[in-house]
Symmetry: C2
Subunit: 200 residues, 2 copies
């Protein structure tokens, strides 16, 4: 449980609004029955994987708000196993965590993957400690570089809700934009990682 107490120095939080929180979806239809879980799977891969390697200093939490209760799934680069770059196998790991979250308050679903029913506010409060906090947003000010260690929050293909934005404003997140274009979430993570690698 060491990785839960000391997550990586670089942490991402992805706000997912459409993935079925009970994990009831088919791996043959990630965009449809999975509610665009392909987006979430790509975010996990982009944040943690390099070519043939894992970013041991990085972690990511996916916060799902589609169900009756919030569910969060955290993947820790320091200890994750069985993580491959393809969407389907990553979606399978996430599905496994979601299915187990239906029957338990919290726990590890597989090595390095932890689920809980914490609220978004609790997840963020816990993760922001000792980190520079960024919210990626098209309406943010242009980001030259990103500081490190950092907590980077971003939305899924639907963006973020007004409530989520208000929460992050209250917690004094810096709202930054990476590009003049509206990019996909996993592309934003690849660029953020690159920026932070450079700063480091």
């Amino acid at each position: 449980m060491d990785d839960i107490i000391r997550p990586g120095r670089r942490h991402y939080v992805v706000l997912s609004h459409t993935v079925p929180a009970d994990g009831d979806f088919s791996l043959n239809d990630l965009p449809g029955s999975g509610g665009r879980v392909d987006v979430v799977a790509r975010c996990v891969s982009s944040s943690l994987l390099t070519s043939n390697g894992i970013r041991r200093d990085t972690s990511i939490t996916v916060c799902l708000s589609s169900g009756a209760r919030p569910v969060s799934v955290s993947v820790y680069g320091s200890s994750v196993r069985y993580l491959n770059p393809d969407e389907r196998s990553t979606a399978a790991l996430i599905r496994n965590a979601l299915v187990k979250s239906s029957a338990a308050e919290e726990g590890l679903s597989s090595p390095g993957i932890y689920f809980s029913h914490q609220t978004l506010s609790d997840v963020i409060e816990h993760a922001k400690e000792g980190r520079e906090c960024y919210l990626l947003s098209e309406t943010g000010k242009p980001a030259g570089m990103l500081g490190t260690p950092s907590l980077v929050v971003l939305g899924d293909h639907t963006g973020i809700t007004v409530e989520e934005e208000l929460l992050l404003e209250r917690l004094e997140f810096m709202k930054v934009s990476l590009s003049m274009l509206s990019l996909q979430s996993d592309q934003c993570i690849s660029i953020s990682n690159w920026m932070m690698d450079k700063a480091h």
Copy 2:
């Protein structure tokens, strides 16, 4: 056929060494039976897609060298249809082009997707006209920014072969590295696009 004559200003070429050139693979096992076609699918998505949009000025050619004859599959942002961000549906479009290439010299397999049996040398010679030419390589010199319009060549998960590297050297490609880390091909494309968006 307009798009074949005038491909986008920004062009990527991905060198694929393990995807079955006859398209004989299962969409349920892209990494295994598909010979890591998931890598190629992510490259196509990263190069052409933004959030809810297509880069109309960008195109990508995947050059497959696993079969008895070379096969290239080009996807043109200017005219492609049915392109979605998930790996599976993109791999299906590629598979369709590969299957059709077994029975024809060249043609469109679906709108904006063109296959042929051109050699790598021919593909590159054609694409380099009027573009700044880069080879992404871990041993290249650090890239500050990438010029535009450009042709960016990169390898798959296996990198590039000695023969490919010699060809690109002979054609005076600038060998550049994006990061101190070894990144995945699609991550490199996301970062390259971001750099070129910025320069533009």
